[in-house]
């Protein structure tokens, strides 16, 4: 079942909340704050939350959005949950590599690969 949201499309696949971004560009401070709030709410919705962020639609990302993802990651860990990222395009993945955040986040090429990884714990 898909829930309407201003910036996010969220659907449940088994135990995993799969999040897609409605915006092609995650740039503006206000949008980033709003996305962060929505994701925080999702992360705190249940202990042990399993969250997959699918970046398929995202073509541009500001560094402030990286900060928002780091804060989310900490929050998910506090909830003993799991956060995975998938479908990050080559240019944006380069941003993760330059900032070494590819070492912080669990990143998969596709959503299916990420969902399989959740099953393996």
């Amino acid at each position: 079942m898909e829930q309407p949201s201003s910036h996010l499309k969220i659907k449940q696949v088994g135990e995993v909340s799969v999040v897609e971004f409605a915006d092609r560009k995650i740039l503006e401070e206000l949008s980033i704050q709003e996305i962060g709030e929505e994701l925080k709410h999702l992360a705190e919705s249940q202990p042990g939350v399993k969250l997959l962020l699918n970046f398929d639609n995202v073509h541009h990302l500001a560094s402030a959005a990286l900060g928002m993802l780091i804060t989310l990651h900490k929050r998910v860990q506090e909830q003993q949950g799991l956060l995975k990222l998938s479908n990050i395009n080559r240019q944006i993945f380069q941003v993760f590599k330059i900032t070494r955040l590819n070492r912080v986040f669990d990143i998969y090429d596709t959503g299916d690969q990420a969902l399989d990884a959740f099953k393996q714990g």
């Binding site: 401070e29 500001a62 560094s63 900060g67 928002m68 780091i70 240019q91 900032t99």
Partner: protein
Amino acid sequence: MKAPPDFGVDDDALIDVTLPTDLHSVKEPEGRIMAALQRCGYDADTTFAIKLAFEEAVTNAAKHGNRNDRSKRIDVRYYVDPRRVVIMVRDEGCGFCPDKVPDPTADENLERPSGRGIMLIQSYMTKVCYRDNGKEVWMLKENPACGA
């Protein structure tokens, strides 16, 4: 606000734009720069790099320089030709020392939520030069397709 001599651009060739401290205002000059890049045949990766660096520089100017004070302005100067792009962003803040910004890629800083804009600019651009106590940043990107 003269370009560094080694950036290879005449001062008269630079286009001047003054922006209010409002991140929405970046779209208009960014659109012009992107259109010029397209006309000059820059590839997608180089265009991505320039766009990212410009947005990070304007964000830093608005947020950290002008501290979102809408009474302050952001000055932009830019130049695009098929060999190189030069962009300057200047704020009205108190300045900062770029060398003292903690390295966000250091293990102890990896999970800090901020401080990546400056290093992304540095990584993506060919040369970066801070002036006037960090209030003014000059960025040069050479077109890799030209072997400039």
